[in-house]
């Protein structure tokens, strides 16, 4: 069965080969990523949404004047007003405009997401590669430490790390980044273990490639897709973790606007002023969802077999 099925697609590739004009330009992996995002409606919309968030973050950072209200200015006479034409998302207990605060909040959210992933990605890939390629005792030591980290719920671990480091958004980033290292390490290690066994790695050894050449040319490029996909999904986890820390009051310090923190402060007024939670909550949900869908699109784009079909 599988044999015939494989066939159904295999000559298809052969014919595609005859039909396509000669392409001289080389495509990079990022072109594949882009193709994957565009190929799928959900991921395309997500991509546009995220691009919009990035623009909002940059604009609000460098041109704060575009905001309808100063997100930090208190105006107690307008405290806890519901959504209206003047205040689209309503106001909080100090009378600050929630719409402006949600927009400004993208700055922190995106920074936290990207920075935390950068930390866990770098350390995780390094540890995973060493463990996977070297094997033996190195592997055992690294992976047991990772297992120990995984045995503790990540948010607890993050709280513990923050307790040691003290409060503050930079520290939250470090805590979130450290907490998700094991996931990357495990993925990279298992992928490398599988890829190492492939004949093309053996072929590289036969022609005399060095270990470094084998890792960088044959092993890592084949791990890269799962790393990119995992990182995209990791951004959403990091955003959620940051929101959770913010909700618990461990993240940003007032009066900074951060979605999780806004959510946490809004819970006292949940029944009186539900918009305090609804809009930051929606912002978190949509952003996380967008990164997840984007991750799916990128995965499709990076699978050479899925792409050309």
């Amino acid at each position: 069965m599988s044999k015939d099925k494989k066939l159904a697609t295999e000559p298809a590739a052969g014919a595609a080969l005859a039909a396509q004009p000669v392409k001289e330009k080389r495509e990079s992996i990022w072109k594949d990523v882009f193709a994957g995002i565009v190929s799928n409606k959900a991921s395309l919309i997500s991509g546009i949404f995220i691009l919009l968030l990035v623009i909002i973050a940059l604009v609000t950072k460098f041109v704060p004047g575009v905001l309808p209200y100063d997100p930090y200015a208190q105006n107690l006479s307008e405290s806890l007003m519901g959504p209206s034409a003047a205040h689209w998302f309503g106001t909080d207990i100090q009378g600050r405009d929630i719409f402006s605060r949600v927009l400004v909040g993208t700055q922190i959210t995106l920074t936290v997401g990207l920075a935390a992933v950068a930390i866990s990605l770098t350390i995780g890939v390094l540890l995973g590669s060493i463990a996977g390629y070297r094997g033996g005792k190195t592997d055992t030591v690294i992976m047991r430490v990772m297992d120990m980290m995984l045995a503790i719920p990540s948010i607890l671990l993050a709280i513990a790390i923050m307790a040691a480091l003290g409060p503050g958004i930079e520290k939250a980033v470090v805590a979130i980044g450290l907490v998700s290292i094991p996931e990357y390490a495990r993925i990279v290690r298992s992928e490398i273990l599988a890829i190492k066994e492939n004949d093309y790695v053996a072929a590289a050894r036969v022609v005399g490639d060095s270990n470094a050449a084998i890792i960088f040319r044959h092993v890592l490029p084949n791990v890269l897709p799962s790393i990119i996909v995992r990182a995209t999904l990791g951004i959403s986890t990091a955003i959620l973790d940051a929101a959770a820390l913010g909700f618990l009051g461990l993240g940003v310090q007032p009066p900074a606007a951060e979605w999780g923190d806004m959510l946490g402060r809004g819970r006292n007024e949940l029944f009186r002023a539900p918009w305090l939670m609804i809009f930051p909550g929606m912002a978190i949900t949509l952003t996380v969802l967008a990164f997840n869908l984007l991750g799916d699109g990128i995965r499709d784009g990076l699978d050479p077999k899925a792409r050309k079909r």
């Binding site: 069965m1 044999k3 015939d4 099925k5 494989k6 066939l7 159904a8 697609t9 295999e10 000559p11 298809a12 052969g14 014919a15 079909r309």
Partner: protein, 372 residues
């Protein structure tokens, strides 16, 4: 007539269109007969057998034609009725015996269960039957091996267990899909021998699906040759091997390295490769690779014509001297290839001579230098 397949078409809708895996295929299997369906990957031979077994994977489906087993219509059978039939009257063995056996159960338990789902017998009776079956398929000391796990057995042993399981309910038809492809030659010989023996003993019919013409020649009574979803030739086994008619069959037979060949010759090869199922050539599916392709071949698909029981799908046989034409076309192509090879060899030889001469000259120089 045990199994009768008429004008069967099976389709797989994919993103870019519909793959016609099986197109207008007809054949019959008589009781006690070994019919082989032979073809390369993509020929639709496996899909044909899965269609008969009602085991097509989604989104594949039978798009037309009829299949009758002992006069019973198979196409409109409900899933439950099919399950009933598959265990009792029809059985199937696959290429990879490791993946067809459940690794976490002892083989005995799996055979016993197969027996007990289809027949109302006690566990003890079923176990005795299982041991009997294992003995029948040539497993030494079956009383002990029945409690082995699949991974404790070799590939050949596992295939024997699969056969034992398939035969445990005395099927009238056994479908064997590449049963020996994953096995070593000496083990393959054992399994083929076993299949033939079991057929003689029990009188069951065997539908043998394979890509190996050698296996066909040694095992089957009748052969159906498939290419790109169509039957291109059908004949009694000796007729087919002695007088192959379709250029594809001829080419396949010629391209197999044989023990009795003269090795100095290049192997005959069928040029090109199997076409994309979504972009079949408009005429005969084989036209692009055929040495005796005519204009008409590129325009329409030939019919399967019956010449005294030897069926062939080729325009060469619309008139009498077709076979001669096809053979001569291949002979011509072959002669060309040989001429090319010989020309290449001549060049080689002269180069070698030159090289040898140069070496000798160099040597003489060396000696002269040394003597100085």
């Amino acid at each position: 007539m045990l199994l009768s397949v008429k004008n069967l078409s099976t389709e797989f809708p994919v993103k870019k269109g519909i793959v016609k895996a099986v197109e207008d295929v007809s054949f019959d299997v008589d009781a006690g007969e070994i019919l082989a369906i032979v073809g390369e990957s993509g020929s639709g031979k496996s899909v044909t057998s899965l269609s008969v077994m009602g085991l097509l994977a989604e989104p594949g489906h039978v798009a037309g034609g009829s299949m009758e087993f002992e006069g019973k219509d198979l196409v409109h059978l409900s899933e439950r009725e099919y399950r009933e039939l598959r265990g009792n009257d029809m059985a199937m063995i696959f290429q990879e015996p490791m993946t067809s056996l459940n690794p976490v159960y002892r083989v005995g338990k799996q055979i016993v269960e197969a027996i007990r789902t289809h027949e109302n017998v006690s566990k003890k009776e079923a176990r005795e039957r299982a041991i009997d079956m294992l003995r029948k398929v040539g497993i030494p000391s079956p009383e002990k091996r029945i409690d082995d796990y699949p991974h404790q057995m070799s590939g050949g042993m596992r295939q024997r267990v699969m056969i034992a399981m398939a035969l445990s309910c005395n099927p009238k038809l056994l479908i064997a899909d590449e049963p020996t492809t994953a096995l070593d030659v000496t083990i393959q010989a054992q399994i083929l021998d076993l299949l033939r023996r079991l057929r003689d003993d029990t009188g069951m019919a065997v539908l043998l699906i394979t890509h190996d013409l050698g296996v066909v020649s040694e095992t089957a009574d009748r052969v159906v040759v498939m290419y790109c979803g169509q039957v291109v030739e059908e004949a009694e086994v000796r007729t087919l091997f002695d007088h192959p008619m379709h250029p594809y069959t001829l080419g396949l037979l010629k391209s197999i390295p044989r023990l009795e060949d003269d090795d100095s010759k290049r192997l005959y090869m069928i040029k090109g490769m199997v076409p994309n199922p979504l972009e079949m050539p408009p005429g005969c599916h084989f036209s692009d690779r055929c040495d005796s392709c005519m204009d008409i071949c590129r325009e329409k698909i030939p019919d399967l014509v019956d010449l005294n029981g030897h069926k062939v799908r080729c325009f060469l046989y619309e008139n009498a001297e077709g076979e001669a034409k096809s053979v001569s076309a291949i002979a011509e192509a072959e002669a060309e290839a040989i001429a090319d090879a010989e020309a290449a060899r001549d060049v080689e030889a002269s180069e070698a001579l030159l090289a040898a001469e140069e070496l000798r000259e160099a040597e003489i120089e060396d000696i002269e230098e040394a003597s100085r």
